[in-house]
């Protein structure tokens, strides 16, 4: 099992939140917490980098959708970065939400 990590890296007026490992019921609350902090920081944009995520299910989906709702209500940009062949993108596609999120695909 890959260790789960979340990092916050400020970059100008953007805050980058980099996640790696398995994002599930056990680790979801930690990401939720970090995202709330990142979004409360007054940055113009929050970038959620999920390229290192190896497991992603409805918990991760909820965290992402909640973050989008907060961004929408707070007038903030949210960009989701995913690997073109990764689990997060597969689940986001399955939930049919990709057309309403700002998503950037890497690799492939």
């Amino acid at each position: 099992m890959t260790a789960f990590t979340v990092e916050r890296n400020p970059n100008g007026d953007a805050m980058r939140v980099v996640v790696s490992g398995e994002l599930d019921m056990a680790t979801g609350p930690r990401l939720e917490e970090e995202l709330r902090r990142a979004q409360a920081g007054g940055h113009r944009e929050v970038v959620l980098d999920l390229t290192g995520v190896t497991f992603f299910d409805s918990t991760g989906l909820q965290v992402v959708l909640d973050a989008e709702v907060r961004a929408r209500e707070g007038g903030q940009e949210l960009l989701i970065v995913v690997a073109a062949d990764g689990e997060p993108l597969r689940v986001l596609r399955l939930a049919e939400v990709t057309d309403r999120l700002r998503i950037s695909e890497t690799g492939g």
Binding site: D24, M25, P29, E32, E33, R36, R37, A40, F55, D57, S58, T59, L61, Q62, L65, D66, V69, V91, R93, L94, A95, E96, V97, R100
Partner: protein, 694 residues
């Protein structure tokens, strides 16, 4: 209603009697234990205040006698005394329901506050136990503090009860306020930011305290300190909001006169920082009902703002139990974590932690009185911390529902830091919130036993029997089954067929379960009148979007409307919202996806949803499942779509029950389910098999 004040004499007894009388009690006095027991037998008081010290006699002993005397279940006994004299644990042990710490000569306002807190606690307890309101209302009607209850399940969260004190405070009559929203008290001078804070907290089902400018009926304003708490039923649904309102106008006026502009500004800045810290802390303490997570959040968010090390301990039968610890520095954290998690308290009051827990009073420890961190401070300087012995500490009791459940300790390793009373006030505020969160988590842990019973309510008791169709369903909650919520399935009988729904609400816990119930029942209702499956899902989407502010959860659904064809086989119309597509198991052994992906429900107002029609020949099956099946972790990695299809193909031609069992086995081969597993299989019977089975 009678009340009894048992106190040897002095100003305090007079103040207590006066305040209770003001609240409408008929007050009887007693000065000795013998008098008290006689008065109890004679007047049958509903409230008995007992002073900790009764001259030469012991108030605790009297509490014990009262606990054993007839009619104990009909009265509330409260121990009153100077803070230093009171041990909450001892008081509860002696049968007292509560403790009011009142130093001699304390202002009447403090007395009222203690009484208001007491009623708020009683009320919450009462609602939690599903008790009868009538008695409680009688009691509330006589208190001097304004109480309002609203019902958030009704349109616009109207006031359903207000007590006499509220009417006196505001000048309104019952007919003016009942059925209306509390915002009727607001006016032009009410700060929208205050209102927004209340709204934000209510949207998240969190308690909130706000002081705001409110208006009386005659148009005059008053400073109203409002504390609003949601009251949950056993399913986690908010069924009432209880609002305690204290008119603090006079207090604020005094404050304003005393403060110079400069000190006011400095205080505002500091309190702004503190508020920001607390505002940041509260949602995270409330985010989880898991005890371990709650404690980890608490300690992590406290360092280094309140100290380099933060520790949560409880004391149980003479032993200190370390519940959580965090440090700003990783090496220090490793050292702290390496200390024993349990050790006996030192006798007497030498161990500051035990002392704080016993007395219920927060303490600041300075350099002269170095705080111990672990067993026997004498065995290793600085309580066993090899590097950076603590220079200062704050220890604050964790108090929930009148009980001290542990202590929160902040340690500073920096020589220049000494804690001030303001730091202590902040620590106490954090402790107050943390204790509540902790208490909730504890309560939730106890409730995990009923979780499986609740979960059983999320799936139908038995599947309907429909001629020409085999139906099979499997449901397995994640892990040990102690977490509720998540997956659900349902089969809804209709004229000439039935609907099958399999869904997954994101998240876990009582709130997810409540939303799952909402989704299931909305779908059941909509199924009756909506002509197409996509219409049913659109109705469910509306209901979930309306709930989103309070729940923040979403739902994925696969929905199939099934009709038995007169010529044999089944017709299905499938609509899918953010969910794995159902799979048809064809007569030639192929697995084929049925349906077209649509939006997850509960996120946007205008979901994209499609209907797809398909025909299943006799013997062909349709499988609806949740991602707990396709994403099950097996010894060979995730089950995945391809292996799932392979498992199904190997089961082609089998009865529905056999297909379901095979799929369930494949999903559970890795041990306990990582996520809920729910699946429904339906299959048109082959001609003649009904007769054969009969």
């Amino acid at each position: 209603m009678n009340a009894l004040v048992v106190d040897a004499g002095g100003d305090r007894r007079a103040a207590l009697e006066a305040e209770l009388a003001r609240q409408g009690y008929a007050v009887a006095p007693a000065t000795t234990a013998v008098e008290a027991l006689e008065a109890v037998a004679r007047a049958e008081p509903v409230l008995v205040l007992v002073a900790r010290r009764l001259g030469a006699e012991d108030g605790l002993a009297l509490c014990r006698s009262l606990d054993g005397a007839p009619g104990a279940e009909n009265r509330v006994v409260v121990l009153v005394g100077e803070p230093a004299d009171l041990s909450v644990l001892d008081a509860l042990d002696a049968g007292a329901a509560d403790v009011w710490a009142l130093a001699p000569g304390e202002p009447a306002a403090r007395l009222r506050e203690a009484i208001a807190e007491h009623y708020a606690r009683l009320q919450a307890e009462h609602l939690r136990l599903g008790g009868e309101f009538a008695l409680l209302r009688q009691a509330l009607d006589r208190t001097g503090t304004g109480f309002v209850m609203t019902d958030p399940r009704l349109d616009d969260d109207p006031i359903v009860y207000a007590n006499q004190a509220f009417y006196e405070q505001t000048g309104y009559a019952p007919a003016d306020v009942l059925g209306r929203n509390c915002r009727m008290l607001q006016g032009p001078l009410t700060d929208p930011a205050d209102v927004a804070r209340i709204r934000a907290a209510l949207a998240r089902d969190r308690p909130v305290t706000v002081e705001l400018v409110n208006y009386r009926k005659d148009g005059t304003t008053f400073a109203n300190e409002v504390h609003i708490s949601p009251v949950h039923d056993e399913r986690g649904q908010v069924v009432r909001r209880v609002s305690v309102q204290v008119d603090v106008t006079a207090f604020r006026e005094r404050e304003r006169l005393f403060a110079t502009e400069q000190t006011a500004r400095a205080a505002a800045e500091a309190s702004g920082r503190r508020s920001a810290f607390l505002a940041d802390a509260s949602p995270r303490l409330d985010a989880s009902l898991d005890l371990r997570e709650t404690l980890d959040s608490l300690t992590r968010l406290s360092v280094p703002y309140l100290g380099e090390v933060c520790i949560v301990d409880e004391v149980d039968r003479g032993e200190v139990h370390r519940l959580a610890a965090a440090a700003a520095d990783e090496r220090v954290e490793a050292l702290v974590r390496a200390l024993p998690a349990r050790y006996p308290t030192e006798p007497g009051d030498r161990d500051p932690l035990a002392r704080v827990i016993r007395s219920g009073r927060a303490e600041i420890l300075g350099r002269d009185d170095p705080p111990a961190l672990g067993p026997a401070a004498g065995s290793g300087g600085g309580g066993g911390l090899a590097t950076g012995a603590p220079q200062a500490a704050m220890i604050v009791p964790l108090r929930a529902r009148g009980r001290i459940i542990g202590a929160l300790a902040f340690l500073s390793l920096a020589a220049e830091r000494q804690y001030t009373d303001e730091d202590l006030a902040l620590a106490e505020e954090l402790a107050r919130r943390a204790a509540l969160a902790l208490d909730n988590a504890r309560l939730y842990e106890r409730q995990s036993e009923i979780a499986s019973a609740l979960q059983a309510g999320l799936v139908p008791g038995r599947l309907p029997e429909v001629e020409g169709v085999e139906l099979a369903a499997r449901f397995r909650p994640a892990g040990d089954g102690s977490v509720i919520g998540g997956d659900f399935y349902d089969v809804i009988e209709r004229e000439g067929g039935f609907d099958v729904v399999v869904g997954d609400v994101t998240g876990k816990g009582a709130r997810a379960a409540a939303l799952t119930g909402l989704a299931r029942h909305t779908i059941r209702t909509a199924a009756r009148y909506e002509a197409r499956p996509s219409g049913v899902l659109a109705v469910a989407n509306d209901a979930l979007v309306a709930e989103r502010a309070s729940s923040g959860r979403y739902c994925t659904v696969a929905y199939a409307r099934v009709q038995v064809r007169p010529e044999g086989g089944l017709h299905v119309a499938v609509s899918v919202g953010g969910h794995p597509l159902p799979i048809a198991l064809r007569a030639d052994g192929r697995a084929e996806l049925i349906g077209r992906p649509g939006s997850i429900l509960g996120w946007v107002d205008d979901p994209t949803l499609h209907d797809v029609d398909a025909v299943l020949a006799p013997g062909e099956a349709l499988v609806l499942y949740t991602d707990g099946v396709s994403e099950a972790r097996t010894p060979d990695g995730m089950l995945g779509d391809e292996r799932l299809a392979a498992v199904l193909e190997s089961a082609a031609g089998m009865p529905a029950g056999a297909i379901a069992s095979r799929l369930e086995r494949a999903a559970l081969q890795g041990g306990n389910a990582h996520d809920d597993v729910a699946l429904v299989v339906l299959r048109g019977t082959v001609a003649g098999s009904v007769a054969a089975a009969a």
